[in-house]
Symmetry: C2
Subunit: 153 residues, 2 copies
């Protein structure tokens, strides 16, 4: 089931980053996470619940990309990951998940979103503990990398 979810989450991410921050990201090939570890500096995480399935999503940014996104949006930004940046990453996570939710609803898959959490800390990793496979989509940009990961039971 997870594979059908790739396009809604990916296209929502590209759309949010492009329209909010004029930030063009290049997706690499989505793959099932097996052993590889996506490290980043600031991540937005959100839980998803439906009658059909439960799951979780994360969007992990390198600090340089998160800071460049803020600068693109408002013309200036901090030099380090601060609360402005974690707020922005939480908001991006919410918007990406909301966009995917609308697209998946059209395919008959409905879910409710919990509230986002944002983790900051250099080189942290996220482990999704749903029972299904974990999809990981690496994204590259001139300012650094991002990773979308999600999994559903």
């Amino acid at each position: 089931m997870n594979v059908e979810f790739i396009n809604p989450f990916l296209s929502s991410m590209l759309n949010v980053m492009s329209t909010m921050a004029m930030m063009e990201l290049t997706p690499e090939k989505p793959k099932l996470k097996q052993g590889e570890v996506a490290k980043g500096d600031v991540s937005g995480l959100i839980g998803m619940v439906s009658d059909q399935a439960k799951g979780s999503l994360s969007i992990t940014f390198e600090a340089s990309l998160a800071i460049a996104t803020m600068k693109n949006m408002v013309g200036e930004g901090p030099d380090v990951v601060n609360e402005e940046i974690t707020d922005l990453v939480g908001e991006i996570t919410n918007m990406v998940t909301g966009g995917a939710k609308r697209m998946l609803s059209e395919k008959g898959f409905e879910f409710d979103m919990a509230t986002p959490m944002v983790v900051s800390g250099k080189d942290h990793t996220i482990n999704h503990k749903a029972e299904g496979p974990i999809v990981i989509i690496p994204l590259t940009s001139a300012h650094g990398k991002a990773f979308i990961e999600f999994s559903f039971d």
Copy 2:
């Protein structure tokens, strides 16, 4: 509303750690998170969704406490945070939230749980982006500290 939730989450945490791992934790006074930062090395996070409210919970451990918990449970454990430890932290997060869910259900507050995520990375911090206040409960032990944090819209 969040304040009513303190006892269910706190007593569920003490109960899970005591019965699963014979690990006695001493809670400090719960407080609203204002500026202070709870740093840890491995955290379990879970989203919660109900008709009444949405929210998120995290349980953050110092590595020493997570590793000691594993050793207490199974007689041996790794020296560093590895997948065994993140699995354990995900399971603890699920059990604590499930216990609190049962207690809150008796008070008429129902919610569904998403699947847990686990973050590992030295000295990371969690930011809950629900709109309500964030409750933080520090816990101490001979093996290190833990923090429960939660927030609901």
